[in-house]
């Protein structure tokens, strides 16, 4: 299990290939990557604030719970903070499992939980000014699935 919280960019290709290569017993690897979306009203940057210390602990707890619920060989979570430009990658998760259903469900679980239970806050900077991204009811509702 590998959990990283960092300001620096990560290399999706190298991370995906490295994660898959380290998994020697899994037939299924799933990755999810979140990218700063260029919204209609001219996004200039996205700033991500977090809670150092709690962030790492929360991500580790979420990843541990995923490993307990599904038969996984490994799980990876990388989440950035700081100022990101449109097109930059915000975060990624990867899961490896003997069966695809476990790999998919665990990746979705990781995403649903880190959306609403890991202490990150996004602020969008547009020409019109800065605005905190509001949490979506649909993200909170997604947790009821698990």
């Amino acid at each position: 299990m590998d959990v990283r919280v960092q300001e620096a960019a990560f290399d999706l290709g190298a991370e995906s290939a490295g994660f898959a290569a380290r998994c020697t017993t899994s037939g299924a690897v799933v990755t999810f990557t979140g990218i700063v979306r260029d919204v209609a009203d001219g996004l200039e940057a996205m700033e991500i604030e977090h809670y150092p210390g709690m962030t790492e602990a929360a991500l580790r707890d979420i990843a541990t719970e995923a490993c307990n619920r599904w038969t996984l060989e490994d799980a990876l979570v990388i989440h950035r903070h700081g100022r990101l430009a449109p097109g930059e990658m915000i975060m990624m998760v990867a899961t490896a499992a003997p069966h695809r259903k476990d790999a998919f469900e665990a990746a979705e679980y990781l995403m649903d939980y880190l959306k609403s239970r890991a202490p990150f806050w996004k602020r969008e900077m547009t020409r019109a000014g800065a605005a905190w991204v509001a949490a979506k009811d649909t993200d909170e509702d997604a947790l009821t699935r698990w």
Binding site: E49, L114, K115, S116, K122, A134, D139, E140
Partner: protein, 81 residues
């Protein structure tokens, strides 16, 4: 006790963290105490349903006890991912 604020809670209160001497028994008591101090706290804590709280870096509730607690953080619902 260390009290931390994030995102717009931090902006409304005007600082990211402060050391607070308090006898508050619960998080809710602490909030009431802070709201009585200055308007900026009352503004930040006006709608508790829009806030989340972490006690010693674990998500918690407003009725959580503060005995032995070293760090309380207030923030809006999280928007990671």
């Amino acid at each position: 006790m260390n009290v931390l604020y994030f995102a717009w809670v931090r902006e409304r209160i005007g600082l990211p963290r402060e050391e607070i001497e308090t006898e508050a028994a619960t998080v809710a008591d602490l909030v009431t105490e802070l709201c009585g101090r200055e308007d900026r706290y009352a503004a930040a804590f006006a709608d508790l349903s829009a806030l989340r709280v972490a006690v010693d870096q674990t998500l918690s509730d407003f009725d959580a006890p503060l005995v032995g607690v070293r760090e309380v953080a207030f923030f809006p619902p999280m928007t990671g991912g």
